[in-house]
């Protein structure tokens, strides 16, 4: 059993979870409020504190410009990619963004890049795990959609680093789900995983046998999910409201968010009911209400669901399989609860899909299994091995803007390719390589990954240098490049300009900042807690002053207490929690006798005319001292 705790994390568009292997079964770790799901919502409260999860959600409706949701849709993407979509979000980008810079989102007066926001969610999950174990947690497996490209994966890894985690592996979500399923069912065969979440869609086809989970093909759409359904319904509601009630509330972010909440509730209700009502309170005392039968809902969202069919067909084609050859179909993601989705999947594969495992939790459970595999030493997982693939072809931009594919999609990873380049000009000492991902013929239609400058080439006549460039896609699906000039044997220096990502230096800085912030966070929490305690003890003191016990104290004792009280009130005005604690402790000391006297009188009045047990001894001497905290925690 590994000494160090390793966890599996599902960093989802809508909800995030953390899980671990408990013996031979993976189990989700709940948050402080007892819920397994942490909504992927991050908000800035009026005090400038970052709030994550359920508590952050209310800020969406109250102060929508201080809250972010579905940040996963912005990870690893450029500003130009998301301008359309940003119109539907209540949050805004920072005003001072330079072209080519990673986007920053405004939350109140602060701004953050998407990886930083995701890092807050990860930190919350990490805290939940640490609270659960009573021990630090540093290592995690984090899941990503299978169809995520290199930039999106790198952004996720960056988020992990900023959150202070050692990301052992990025695992593709459908593959993780299959691990949970395979562990559960222990069957061999061909499995198709249909994963429709909040923001992304993946279809993966795997071969399971003797503990090996081999992905044969994968496809998807990183821009297709429950959010699109929500946005469609919101648009319809806004049109209704504008049409019927003649109000344009599009600019009112808080009302739009209220509509969004109502739309989501309705969507969920329609999974079990035939009809539901959409109800929203509008400004000016007006009210929007509409009944939505399930049939109408299905009609409205059909075009969105139809978008999953193309990728499914392509994945089957790439795997060289007919739908009938699939042995099992597994449903993953909250959106697969929609009855029409289930029906569609059943039609596609001509069989009933599996959903025994909770579609919201199965990915996190699978991540926990993989975390255990990497940590080693578990009977349940010792024969398990994941063989995943890269979802997109990797290519180099060649003369004329055409893509020369060097690694084909669905190649098992780790995968590599070696290419040779030369110089075009006499004495040229650097060569630029533009790497793209995608299936299109022209580089401009593919996803730009990065431009690699290979420097330090010894000057030679044009065409003489033979620069060997090795491209390697690692087990996380992330690209590494190394280059060597073969005639001189010199390793070329490679400077990478990620097209949509943070440089290593930027991530390091964010990590350092986050320490400061975390410390600040920690310190601020301590101050708040200390102040709360101080208030309790001061309230008890006020009460005590009005009682008979106070009269029994000497003048010296009373003036000592008064001094300590003043000392405490002064300390509370400052932000130094240690000073407050010290003041609390000295006031406690000073009021020990007062407390005893108060208890004695309480006991005697309680006992007067009663027998010992009738006097409810539980409130007597064994009860916690009213002026001291219930537990003595020397670690403070």
């Amino acid at each position: 059993m590994a000494d160090e705790r390793v966890v599996g994390i599902d960093l989802g568009t809508t909800n995030s979870l953390v899980a671990y292997m408990q013996g031979d079964r993976p189990v989700v770790i709940p948050g402080e409020d007892g819920s397994n799901l942490v909504p992927s919502v991050v908000a800035l409260d009026p005090n400038g504190q970052i709030i994550v999860g359920n508590s952050a959600r209310k800020y969406l409706i109250e102060t929508a410009d201080r809250a972010v949701y579905s940040v996963k849709r912005l990870m690893g993407r450029g500003v130009e990619d998301v301008t359309e979509e940003l119109k539907l979000f209540p949050f805004r980008l920072a005003d001072d963004l330079q072209p080519g810079e990673v986007m920053r989102i405004k939350l109140g007066d602060k701004d953050f890049t998407p990886p930083e926001i995701s890092a807050y969610i990860l930190r919350q999950l990490r805290r939940n795990a640490e609270r659960f174990f009573g021990a630090p947690v540093k290592k995690a497996v984090i899941t990503v959609p299978a169809y995520f490209n290199d930039a999106q994966r790198q952004a996720t890894k960056d988020a992990g680093r900023i959150a202070g985690l050692d990301v052992l592996r990025l695992v593709n979500e459908p593959t993780a789900a299959s691990l949970a399923y395979g562990l559960d069912q222990k069957k061999n065969g061909i499995v198709a995983v249909y994963d429709l979440g909040g923001g992304t869609f993946d279809i993966s086809i795997l071969k399971l046998h003797d503990g090996i989970f081999e992905v044969i093909s994968t496809n998807g759409d990183t821009h297709l999910g429950g959010d699109d359904i929500d946005n469609l319904l919101i648009a319809i509601a806004l049109d209704d409201i504008e049409g019927d009630l003649k109000i344009d509330i599009r600019r009112n972010a808080e009302v739009v968010q209220a509509i969004r909440k109502s739309v989501i509730d309705a969507k969920i209700a329609l999974s079990t009911k035939d009809s539901t009502d959409l109800e929203v309170a509008l400004p000016g005392g007006k009210h929007y209400q509409r009944t939505i039968p399930r049939a109408l809902f299905e009609q409205m969202v059909e075009p969105i669901l139809q978008r999953t069919i193309g990728p499914v067909k392509q994945a089957l084609k790439d795997a060289n399989l007919e739908p009938g050859q699939i042995d099992e179909v597994v449903l993953v993601g909250g959106s697969t609860r929609i009855p029409r989705v289930r029906q569609m999947v059943k039609e596609l594969f001509q069989r009933e899909p599996h959903s025994e495992l909770n579609p919201d939790e199965v990915v996190a459970l699978g991540a926990a299994v993989q975390a255990q595999i990497l940590a080693g030493g578990s009977e349940a997982t010792k024969d398990m091995l994941l063989l995943d693939v890269t979802p997109l072809s990797l290519g180099i931009e060649a003369l004329g803007g055409v893509v020369a594919k060097i690694i084909q999609r669905n190649s098992t990873i780790p995968a590599s390719a070696t290419e040779h380049f030369t110089t075009g000009v006499e004495g040229q000492t650097a060569v630029a390589v533009h790497v793209v991902q995608g299936e299109r013929e022209l580089a401009k239609d593919c996803r730009s990954l990065a431009r690699f400058d290979l420097r330090g080439i010894p000057p030679m006549p044009a065409g003489m240098p033979r620069i060997e460039v090795k491209f390697l896609i690692d087990a996380n699906g992330i690209l590494h490049v190394s280059a060597r000039e073969q005639r001189s044997g010199k390793e070329a220096e490679i400077s990478v300009q990620p097209s949509y990502g943070l440089t290593d230096e930027q991530v390091e800085n964010m990590l350092l900042e986050s320490f400061d912030y975390a410390e600040q966070d920690f310190a601020q929490r301590q101050v708040i807690e200390a102040r709360n305690e101080a208030n309790t003890i001061l309230a008890a003191l006020d009460k005590g002053r009005g009682g008979s016990a106070w009269q029994m104290l000497s003048n010296d004792e009373r003036s000592a207490i008064a001094q300590q009280e003043k000392f405490l009130r002064d300390a509370m005005d400052k932000d130094d929690y240690q000073a407050i604690r010290q003041a609390i402790d000295s006031l406690n000391q000073g009021t020990m006798r007062l407390a005893e006297l108060m208890m004695d009188s309480a006991v005697s009045s309680a006992l007067k005319g009663k027998t010992f047990d009738e006097a409810n001894v539980g409130e007597g001497p064994t009860a916690p001292h009213p002026f001291a905290p219930a537990e003595i925690d020397s670690k403070r």
Partner: protein, 268 residues
């Protein structure tokens, strides 16, 4: 770390015959490098003595799997070997090992995946062998066409002689169909003709598979005739003869595939 060592050791026996093939490769090259961990004689994948993972060496794909350079391959056995090697080489297995071993595992498993992917597919396998034999395949791909279109250079055309007339006819039909399509018209007769041509091309394509198999057998026979199983022992003349036949076939095959693709595009 010791858990990793005993895990590898326990499986040493199973892969032993592969390792001895790989060792032979090393001996042929005159290399007798020693194991970085225990100093004993090193094998290509794992040290025979202490079982530690060794650095990646440039190895051809056939040797990696301990296979002779024959074109007929037992793909079922290849798959089994692939899984066996994966269990030992995959980075997940080395997640708690030294950074150096992790690096080697990354290199070796990518080498293995590349090897498996190439050897598994009949055409890729053939092309790979030809590459080892020093043959440069002429690109018939759409890529080359695109490039030509972009840069204005003329694409190198290698039209199989037996198809010359058909191709001429077909190109005219394709032009006509493309023009129709642009103008939104459909000519049912033309479409039917094109479909027929496509069917005929497809059956030619299938026939090529059998022809290729026969060349494989020829090649393998050459290897079998040598005592050592060493390709270099075969006279160059005989090698070239089989090679050229395979190159020609692959070109024809590629050409036909492109034609079929062009017809499909226009019929969509």
């Amino acid at each position: 770390m010791s858990a990793g060592l005993s895990y590898v050791r326990a499986n040493m026996a199973v892969t032993h015959n592969h390792q001895s093939d790989a060792v032979q490769l090393d001996q042929r090259n005159g290399e007798k490098a020693s194991c970085w961990s225990c100093g004993e004689m090193r094998a290509a994948l794992f040290c025979e003595s202490c079982g530690k993972l060794q650095p990646a060496t440039p190895t051809d794909y056939f040797s990696f799997f301990g296979l002779p350079r024959k074109l007929n391959v037992d793909t079922a056995r290849l798959e089994r070997d692939f899984y066996q090697f994966s269990r030992k080489l995959h980075p997940d297995v080395f997640s708690r090992a030294t950074p150096q071993e992790q690096e080697w595992s990354l290199q070796k498993s990518s080498q293995m995946n590349d090897a498996y992917r190439t050897l598994k597919d009949p055409i890729a396998r053939t092309e790979y062998l030809l590459k080892l034999e020093g043959v440069q395949m002429e690109e018939q791909s759409k890529q080359a066409t695109e490039r030509a279109r972009q840069t204005g250079e003329t694409k190198k055309q290698v039209v199989p002689p037996d198809l010359l007339e058909e191709v001429f006819e077909l190109n005219m039909q394709l032009e006509e169909a493309r023009t129709n399509k642009k103008m939104g018209e459909t000519d049912e007769n033309l479409a039917r003709d094109l479909r027929q041509t496509k069917a005929s091309l497809e059956s030619k394509h299938h026939a090529l598979d059998d022809e290729l198999k026969s060349y494989w057998n020829e090649w393998d026979a050459l290897i079998d005739r040598t005592e050592s199983g060493d390709v270099d022992a075969i006279p160059e003349q005989e090698r070239r003869s089989v090679r050229d036949k395979m190159v020609d076939l692959l070109n024809r095959r590629s050409y036909i595939r492109n034609l079929v693709r062009d017809v499909n595009e226009v019929l969509e």
